[in-house]
Symmetry: C2
Subunit: 230 residues, 2 copies
């Protein structure tokens, strides 16, 4: 890919998407970041997403409103459903967790696709990871490949002679430790990122949800202290 070619990057404000953004930027792309106010329990991550976008230097950063909480069905959007807490990462299993938000990545990718088509970009980056989140159907490689095939029929990109659209998933086969190592090499400032599903006072990591446990393990395996910890 050549310099100034544009890409759309999904940016949640978490560790994975911040790393994914750095990777797209490192490839010389003009990056259009997009975040979602979707009814998540805490919107602190959107402040962090804006900080990260500003720090990395994006061509644009949008926050798109789409209320997924109106459909319900997840601990991440329904304040009456508790986020599971534990002391170890062992309990993360293969069934779909209650923190799964129905069709969330499909909705987010579709809005990223609308943006990509409008700005004539054929590259979308999403920081999904199949190892740590094997219980989320929409984090699997087979889902992403099917999404890409669909997107190439849905849009102008599917017209003969046009450049096809690619969904890039640079983190999909990496462990959390490998993601962090790659981000550190690219200068990601992880102190700006927030991964917690249910932060204390809406801003401090709880330390006990699946996201906190996986993150802690990833930093420990790199032999460093998480710079986002208070």
């Amino acid at each position: 890919m050549t310099a100034n070619r544009s890409a759309v990057v999904l940016l949640s404000g978490g560790l994975d998407s911040a790393t994914c953004l750095a990777i797209a930027k490192d490839r010389g792309l003009a990056v259009h970041a997009v975040s979602f106010r979707y009814g998540q329990r805490h919107q602190f991550e959107l402040q962090r997403a804006a900080q990260i976008a500003n720090h990395v230097g994006t061509a644009s950063h949008r926050v798109v409103d789409i209320d997924l909480a109106q459909f319900g069905g997840s601990a991440l959007t329904d304040p009456t459903v508790d986020v599971p807490k534990s002391d170890s990462v062992q309990q993360i299993g293969s069934s779909i967790p209650i923190t799964y938000v129905p069709a969330r990545n499909t909705v987010f990718l579709s809005l990223a696709l609308a943006l990509a088509e409008t700005i004539d970009s054929r590259d979308i980056f999403i920081g999904v990871n199949a190892l740590d989140y094997s219980g989320y159907p929409d984090c699997r490689g087979e889902f992403i490949r099917a999404y890409e095939a669909m997107a190439n029929l849905a849009t102008r990109a599917g017209v003969e002679g046009e450049q096809p659209l690619t969904i890039h998933t640079p983190l999909i086969d990496l462990t959390k430790a490998q993601i962090i190592a790659q981000g550190l090499a690219l200068g990601v400032d992880y102190s700006m990122t927030i991964s917690c599903y249910d932060p204390i006072d809406n801003q401090s990591p709880c330390g006990h949800c699946d996201a906190c446990l996986l993150r802690a393990k990833g930093f420990a395996e790199n032999g460093i202290v998480d710079p986002a910890l208070p």
Copy 2:
């Protein structure tokens, strides 16, 4: 499909989606209609969608807010871009028209999918039509089949032992005249529907946009006057 099985139906307030709703209802399904306030030029169609849903008798009807106008790129969401007008349907060609909204059906189907997954429905109905709108990539059968394949990997429906999800497109191969004939047989009240891209005073059909021309032709071929005409 047995009685009381539920389905999600995309309902715009236009002729096609009203017919599609009647078809789903006629199949004995408990119908959850969903409409979108997406930044369309006129929101009169949302009032009509509510009227239609009420008339047919749906299990629920939601209006979901998703601002596609923020991305631009279409005459249907950008008031500074004129909707093309003409006196005959002849000019509808095979290139993508300016009234195409980037990734619109992908976004709408994705939100319908989020709803379907939450209410545990495995049937989504969309009134796309490949004949009249061959210039819209996201109205083609091959797009719908790719979407369905993706949706079955994206959600709980894709888990082993689960009932797969189906995207139903009962109008896809019909002419506008055939759609109207089928709707009339099912008792659709077309006086409630609005198809115009750019209605006068936000409520009366202009008579000259592609949607008005196709609709007029369909009623003429059935030998009747469009009951929605003033």
